[in-house]
Symmetry: C2
Subunit: 559 residues, 2 copies
Amino acid sequence: MSRNRAFSQDCTPAVIQNRKMLSRKFSDVIGDRLNIENIIEHSPITAKEKKKVEYDFGKLSVEDIYPKSKSGIITEEFMNELLKILVQYVHKTFDRKSKILDFHHPHQFLDGIEGFSLDLDVGPQSLEQLLVDCRDTLKYGVKTGHPRFFNQLSSGLDVISLAAEWVTSTANTNMFTFEIAPVFVCMETIVLRKMRQIIGWEDGEGDGIFSPGGSINNMYAAMIARNLSCPDVKKLGMKHSPDIVMFVSKHAHYSNSRPAITLGIGTDNVILVDVDNRGRMKPCDLEKKIQTALLNGKQPFYVCATAATTVLGAFDPITPISAICKKYGLWLHVDAAWGGGALMSRKHRFLLRGIDRADSVTWNPHKMMGITLQCSALLIKHKNLLEECNKMEASYLFQQDKHYDVSYDTGDKTIQCGRHVDVFKLWLSWRAKGDEGFEKHVDKCIEMSTYMTNRIKSLEGFELVMDKPQYTNVCFWYLPPWMRTMQKDSTRDQLLGKIAPIIKARMMECGSTMIGYQPLDDKVNFFRCVISNHAVEKCDVDFLLDEIQRLGENLKLVQ
Amino acid sequence: MSRNRAFSQDCTPAVIQNRKMLSRKFSDVIGDRLNIENIIEHSPITAKEKKKVEYDFGKLSVEDIYPKSKSGIITEEFMNELLKILVQYVHKTFDRKSKILDFHHPHQFLDGIEGFSLDLDVGPQSLEQLLVDCRDTLKYGVKTGHPRFFNQLSSGLDVISLAAEWVTSTANTNMFTFEIAPVFVCMETIVLRKMRQIIGWEDGEGDGIFSPGGSINNMYAAMIARNLSCPDVKKLGMKHSPDIVMFVSKHAHYSNSRPAITLGIGTDNVILVDVDNRGRMKPCDLEKKIQTALLNGKQPFYVCATAATTVLGAFDPITPISAICKKYGLWLHVDAAWGGGALMSRKHRFLLRGIDRADSVTWNPHKMMGITLQCSALLIKHKNLLEECNKMEASYLFQQDKHYDVSYDTGDKTIQCGRHVDVFKLWLSWRAKGDEGFEKHVDKCIEMSTYMTNRIKSLEGFELVMDKPQYTNVCFWYLPPWMRTMQKDSTRDQLLGKIAPIIKARMMECGSTMIGYQPLDDKVNFFRCVISNHAVEKCDVDFLLDEIQRLGENLKLVQ
């Protein structure tokens, strides 16, 4: 039966039976770990077969592992089998010959495909079936670490942060108190300080937190600013607050406008600031709009600048924006979720010039620094504000009469209670690579995108959206041959907007590579390539461009 | 040097040198995975030594693993070494003879202890040092899966969900689109439906999401209800909304009041409902307070009932509460983060009778169902409301012209953008255990807590806070001998309140066991034992009680 593919298929039934009996026998022994050597000594299996000792996982279940079984030998062997599957997947991820995905539609997964069933109503499955499930789950997923995956700002499979995440999940603890996460809480203190130092705040002083993503960090920033502008908001709500308005660039990530909904400010009070032809916020438009808002009796409170926008990778000019914020007394938040990594590069950190003037910064090491998901920090120049915002003083969790310094308990800083340990993978990667390792990572990715830009310029049928990208976002259209001679008008645009989705669908069905597309302002669907995976080489960039050409050159549209 | 403890310590220098050369030689080979057999064939290492082939990780670094090295052999060996450390930790977790923690104060970690330094300014470290770092990080942490860890609602180390979390982190993807998480998105659909069926909603219809914890889910529930009551809130903010008020029991988790801050409602608009002598919300007080609010011109919109409170484990009576909600047209949210697990037990699900009348439910499988952190679901009876609340329609991420059914993209339902894959560990555990496995888990934990309650009743010096707990929360005081004859007055209370923190500090310093304590209403600090780990046996309960006695019986206080 395909759902029960055997893991120990080269064993004869007799050997399996033997082993089964062995495992049963030894799983009854109470006490410490038994190592495989002990078992071998007591078994009739020959030395030659030694390496081959395997359990028949098809006959074993959760009843045979911890905590049901007092002996951990089967637990250990199960973990060993799992590791083989995971290592195999890691090898495939870095193997350019392997497919990025094996595409199926939602209904196919829901109905069950080729023996891979997601059904939960089948009762307890054997350990073997669980291993098959793990393998199939990986098999039908998307290899986001593959060197030809250009689809997302987060890509790559960093082995060190992966290792760290395995440790984190094995530790299975929670960041809310020092009490139950002493090492991780101290690591967070150290990593946040280091990040603040890199931003350029004096002695790395300030505050911060790792939260479940840039969107929540952007919300925290807006919330701190809201609470400063509306001192009674905690108690009385927004109903009795001033008419506050916030300023966000037109090209900012949508999570910078969303807090207006969540926090009860209202989207009418988000004022969008114009961008220049490269997608950067125009400081003059910002000031003009602040003045207009003031004239209309509104109270400006918050400006969000972006360091590397999602689509074009544009860096807003922080220095002039910060001068305006200072002049009008506004909180300056920099959403550097994507661009923050450039701070690690001596060559490229100029892109974020002035970031030390920000009041708060969102910085996602799971994007340009290659850390695995999720790893997102909010850094704040000022102490205590985050806690003042969120403090509930739940005495049953954050007791003040503990025997250690409770200022290390972080639970009252967040809108969460439990909080996942996200810091360890960044800490361990920093130990592995040092500052210089991250610098090399960023420089390499930017170098590859420069290579790509130049390649595109030399290719027929490709058109860049911007001549010289600031970051690793390379945005472009592909035109099939018959479209290249068409006049640039709305008819061509209408057709052009259909090209990228079709090519994207074809590449997903082939499973050869992945890249994103989207429209922006008056521009119809174009490809956006982003490089954050330092496994990407020139050959991968070439492959992507060749593949787009291959999948698109015979593409016809019915008008 | 203690920081560089060798992993290959039984190798002679010559052998290490040999292997180093080998590893260098083979890491230069470009191509697919090399297996250890190939290396052995080309090496002078004898068959006897075969099993012992190890790399000198002290001489290797991130430059020798993927993606820098084209050959994955060292990556694979590094993962193998890591697995040994993790498996060792798992064995220790289930070994009652091992300590739960090796306590150190924050400043000790920050300064560095016994060669375990958290310093990030030391440049790139060897692979060996990284392995040592992983081992030390686990060594100085808290074994939350130890059968004598009673400190938190989340405890235990479920091997299947741990395995699943390793798979999840290896897949390293993001829940926002079907495109990059096809399998996980479909699993979420299936698991959420199953959970809704268990709640009792017709055909499991409705909506839901996994989010980073119960607190955020409770906020989502309040937000949906807020947006229904204030139809213009997305656009205009709370300033132009009615005077809404919400009702929460005095013993509810603080995350049910916090949305009043975050969402701009204001804590003055959280009306606390009285509880009975077992900590359950009084429906009559709820109705009285709704009527008073209406008389004061307020607009009630939301009632939060709790299924198992954090401290006492009390279940609010959902059926009468839901009748009141129906009468006044209020949204009923049930925070069953902790109690939801009881739905899996035919014997105990009566505790949540009426839950099918709720509009939304928070349910954390990472609590009573033993799933590792984090795994928290919000279930909603009504479709589309979550998306209507949060929708931003970011065209650069959630394109509508994709080639698959984009209704499976979940990004517009959340306040996040990227979202961690939390579903796989629950899905895989369900496959492993079936409904019956979770039932056994819950029944066992409740049985252990009943045993504990009875033991406490029989012991001198112990006093139960409540005679008959509803759930696995067993709350009690311990009185040292000299206190037992004191009159029950404020003088005794003042002293009694100091006992639990001192005993807790002592047990943490011994590292023998862990249990929480807190004050509640007029009750001074008492111990709260919670059992959610099905590894807990009677001997562990006995151990805890003995240990409290041992650490407390000679305790003297200076008045």
